[in-house]
C-alpha cells in the first residue's frame, strides 16, 4: 500500500481578527500535501492573503495551529518556503539575474550558488538571453516570471503564491502553470490563491475554498466541481412566474444581483435530471419574459458560489 503523501503545510482552526473588522479570518483549516498543487479560492476579502501571512509568520494568529513540514512553525522551517506576494515590486533598475539571486541569498544561499541557480532558472523559462536586462525593460509577463523564479530560486519544498496569474496574458499564464506542474512533479507542494477558476481547474489537484474567513470546502478538485448546482442564470421581470416554474420542476430561485430597471437576475437551481430546454419550455408556457438565459457551467465556479451561499445562509441562521 503506498504511503500517504506528507503534509508540507497543515493549518487548523486559524483565526485572525483586525481592528475595524475587515479582512480577518475565523476558522480556516486545510493542508497542502507534497507533490500537489492546491488552489486557494475565494473572493476579495475572503481572507486568503491574511491566511498566507499567518502561515509565513508575518501576522500572529489569534487562534489556531500551523504546522510546517510536520513541525510547529519556526523561522528555520520558513526558509524552505518560496513566497510570491500579491503585488509584485521588483527593483526596476535591477537586472533580472540579480533580482533572482538576491532572493536566493536572502534565503541563505551562497553568492555563487544563487547566481548559478538564477542563470539555470532563467534559461529554463527562455529568458537566458535577457538575464542582464533590467526589470523595467521586461514585459509585464516576463517580469512576473522573474518574480516567480525569485520565489523558487532557493529550491523550496513549498511554494505559496498569492494571485500569481493576475495581469498575465493567456500564453504567460500557461507557461507559468507549466512551471508549477514541473515543480509538483519534483515533489514540491504549491498553494496558490487565485480568482481564476479556469486556471485552478487546469492545474489544481486539490482546492481549498474560503468564504467570509472560513473554509467552506477542502478536497480534490473533481469532488468540488461535482458540488456545482445544475441550473441557469435568468434575467426576467416576472419573478413570480419564474419561481412558480422552478418550483413545478422541483427547483428554486435565488436572486443574484439587484434589479436593473424592472428586470432582475436570478439563479435557477434545478434537479440534475431537468434539462435546460425543459426549463425554457416551462417558462414559455407561463409567458415569463426572458431577457437573458445562461446555463450554469458545471465546475469550480458553480461549486464555489453554491457553497458560499450555503455558508452565508448558515451563518445568518446561526
Amino acid at each position: 500500500m503506498p504511503a500517504a503523501p506528507v503534509d508540507l503545510l497543515k493549518v487548523t482552526g486559524l483565526a485572525k481578527h483586525f481592528r475595524g473588522g475587515g479582512g480577518g479570518i475565523n476558522n480556516v483549516s486545510f493542508s497542502v500535501p507534497a507533490g500537489s498543487v492546491t488552489g486557494f479560492i475565494g473572493v476579495n476579502g475572503a481572507g486568503k492573503s491574511t491566511t498566507l501571512r499567518c502561515v509565513l509568520g508575518l501576522l500572529k494568529p489569534d487562534a489556531g495551529n500551523i504546522r510546517l513540514f510536520g513541525a510547529p512553525f519556526s523561522l528555520t522551517a520558513r526558509r524552505h518556503i518560496g513566497f510570491l506576494p500579491e503585488e509584485r515590486g521588483l527593483f526596476p533598475h535591477e537586472p533580472a539575474r540579480d533580482a533572482i539571486a538576491f532572493h536566493g541569498r536572502l534565503k541563505g544561499m551562497s553568492r555563487q550558488a544563487a547566481f548559478a541557480a538564477a542563470d539555470r532558472l532563467l534559461e529554463r523559462v527562455g529568458l537566458g538571453a535577457r538575464k542582464n536586462d533590467r526589470i523595467a525593460a521586461l514585459s509585464k509577463g516576463n517580469a512576473q516570471r522573474v518574480q516567480v523564479l525569485a520565489a523558487m530560486v532557493h529550491d523550496p519544498e513549498l511554494l505559496l503564491l498569492d494571485e500569481p496569474l493576475s495581469g498575465l496574458d493567456l500564453i504567460a499564464q500557461s507557461e507559468l502553470l507549466l512551471l508549477l506542474a514541473e515543480f509538483r512533479a519534483q515533489g514540491g507542494g504549491v498553494l496558490f490563491s487565485t480568482h481564476s477558476m479556469s486556471a485552478a481547474e487546469a492545474i489544481c489537484d486539490r482546492v481549498v475554498m474560503l468564504s467570509e474567513g472560513r473554509t467552506i470546502f477542502e478536497g480534490a478538485a473533481p469532488d468540488a466541481s461535482a458540488l456545482a448546482p445544475h441550473g441557469a442564470i435568468v434575467v426576467t421581470t416576472d419573478a413570480e412566474g419564474l419561481g412558480a416554474a422552478a418550483q413545478l420542476l422541483g427547483g428554486q430561485i435565488v436572486p443574484v444581483a439587484d434589479a436593473k430597471g424592472e428586470a432582475a437576475r436570478w439563479r435557477v437551481v434545478l434537479p440534475r435530471e431537468i434539462t435546460h430546454p425543459v426549463l425554457i419550455r416551462a417558462l414559455a408556457e407561463r409567458k415569463v419574459p426572458i431577457f437573458a438565459f445562461e446555463p450554469i457551467k458545471p465546475g469550480l465556479e458553480g461549486a464555489f458560489w453554491h457553497l458560499a451561499r450555503h455558508e452565508a445562509m448558515e451563518s445568518r441562521a446561526a
Binding site: G20, N44, S49, L58
Partner: protein, 372 residues
C-alpha cells in the same frame, strides 16, 4: 552566505548608485568647489589696495598689519602697506586701552574690522603682565560670528550645510524605498525571509553608504582642488581646513548620529504610510523640523542667537554641534551630547522597527482593501 542586513544594504546602495541623478548629485561638490576657486581667482586679479597704518607703537602697527592682511583675505581682498594708502590710525591713550580709527571708506567689512580688533586685543593681552583690563575701542564684537576666527569657523559652517544637504537628500531616498516596497507589497517577500530590524538596518545602511559616498566625493574634491591652487584667499583656506582629519572625524561622528536619528524617524514614517502621498504628508513635519534646525544653526553662526540649551534638543544637536567651535564646549559636554543623540536615535530606531513589523499591526497597516 551573507547577512540579510548586508544583502539589503548592498542592494539599496547598488540601486541608487546606478541612477543618473546620483552622479549628478556627486558632481555638485566638485563643481561648487571649482566655481568657488574660480571666483576667488577672479578676485585676486584685482590689484592690491594700499593701506596706511599709523601708530606710535611700532609693535602694535606691525601686529595691525598682520591682522589686516588676514582679515582682507577673508573679504577676498589683498592689502599692501604704504604711507599714502587708506588710513587706519591706532592710538593707546591709556594703559589697557587701544583706539582703532578706520577711515570712513576703509575697504574692510565690519567682520573684518572686528577680526582686526580681536587680534590686536589678543596680542596686547599677551604683552600685559600686570593683569590690567584691556579694552579695544572701535569695533563692537558680536558674541558669535561665523567668520570671527577665519576659515576654521567657515569650514564648520560648510560642513553643517553639507550635512544638512546630504541628510535631506538621503532621507528622501530612504522614504521612497520604504514606501515603494510597502505600496507594492514586495516588503512582504523580504519580511518572509528576514527580521524587520534586519530590513530596516539594511535600508538605513545602504542609503547611508550612498550619502557617505556623496559626502566623501564633495570633501575629497575640495581637498584635492585645494592642493593645486595658491594657499592665499578664503576659499582655498576653507578647503584646506575641510581636509583636517580631526575635524572630519568629529563631523563624521556627528553625521552618523544625525543619520541614525533622522533615518530611523524616516523609516518609521515610511512604515506608517499607506502610499507615497500619505508618506509625503507624514514626513512634512520632519522636514520642517530639519529646516528649523538649519536656520537655527545659521542664526547661531551669525550671532543672532546663542542659547546653549538648544544644543540639548536632539533634532538640533548635530547641526549646532557642528557650528559650535570645538574649543567652545568642554569634552564632557560634547560627550554628553553624543550620548544624548545616541540614546534618542536608539529610541526612534526601536519605534521604527516596531512599525516595520506586520506582527503588531492591524490590517490597516498594509491597507485593508488589498487583503484577499
Amino acid at each position: 552566505m551573507s547577512s540579510p542586513v548586508w544583502l539589503i544594504a548592498e542592494r539599496e546602495f547598488r540601486t541608487y548608485v546606478a541612477t543618473l541623478s546620483f552622479w549628478a548629485a556627486l558632481a555638485i561638490g566638485p563643481l561648487a568647489a571649482g566655481g568657488l576657486l574660480l571666483v576667488q581667482g577672479a578676485h585676486q586679479i584685482s590689484p592690491p589696495i594700499a593701506i596706511a597704518v599709523t601708530s606710535t607703537d611700532a609693535g602694535l602697527a606691525h601686529a595691525a598689519q598682520a591682522a589686516l592682511k588676514e582679515a582682507a583675505s577673508l573679504d577676498g581682498r589683498d592689502f599692501t602697506f604704504s604711507d599714502n594708502g587708506v588710513r587706519l590710525a591706532i592710538a593707546a591713550p591709556a594703559r589697557g586701552i587701544i583706539d582703532l580709527r578706520f577711515q570712513s571708506d576703509f575697504p574692510l567689512s565690519a567682520t573684518g574690522r572686528a577680526l582686526v580688533a580681536r587680534t590686536l586685543e589678543r596680542d596686547a593681552a599677551r604683552r600685559i603682565s600686570d593683569g590690567a583690563v584691556l579694552t579695544v575701542h572701535q569695533a563692537e564684537l558680536p558674541s558669535a560670528l561665523p567668520l570671527r576666527r577665519g576659515p576654521a569657523d567657515a569650514a564648520h559652517f560648510v560642513l553643517m550645510a553639507m550635512l544638512w544637504l546630504t541628510l535631506t537628500g538621503s532621507l528622501g531616498m530612504l522614504l521612497q524605498t520604504v514606501v515603494r516596497e510597502r505600496a507594492t507589497r514586495s516588503l512582504e517577500s523580504l519580511l518572509a525571509a528576514a527580521a524587520p530590524w534586519q530590513i530596516m538596518t539594511g535600508k538605513l545602511a545602504g542609503i547611508w553608504g550612498v550619502s557617505l559616498l556623496v559626502l566623501a566625493a564633495w570633501i575629497g574634491s575640495s581637498g584635492t582642488l585645494a592642493l593645486f591652487v595658491p594657499k592665499t584667499g578664503f576659499a582655498p583656506a576653507i578647503m584646506t581646513e575641510l581636509t583636517r582629519p580631526g575635524l572630519l572625524l568629529h563631523a563624521a561622528a556627528i553625521y552618523c548620529l544625525a543619520y541614525a536619528f533622522y533615518g530611523s524617524a524616516t523609516v518609521a514614517i515610511g512604515a506608517m504610510a499607506r502610499d507615497s502621498a500619505s508618506a509625503q504628508n507624514l514626513s512634512r513635519p520632519m522636514f520642517v523640523l530639519l529646516m528649523a534646525a538649519f536656520f537655527t544653526a545659521l542664526a547661531l553662526a551669525m550671532g543672532a542667537i546663542s542659547p546653549s540649551w538648544l544644543l540639548y534638543l536632539p533634532p538640533l544637536t548635530p547641526f549646532l554641534l557642528l557650528i559650535y567651535p570645538a574649543d567652545a564646549l568642554s569634552w564632557t559636554t560634547q560627550l554628553s551630547l553624543f550620548v544624548l543623540m545616541a540614546g534618542a536615535s536608539f529610541l526612534v530606531a526601536c519605534f521604527a522597527a516596531s512599525r516595520f513589523s506586520l506582527r503588531e499591526s492591524s490590517v490597516g497597516h498594509f491597507g485593508a482593501k488589498a487583503v484577499g
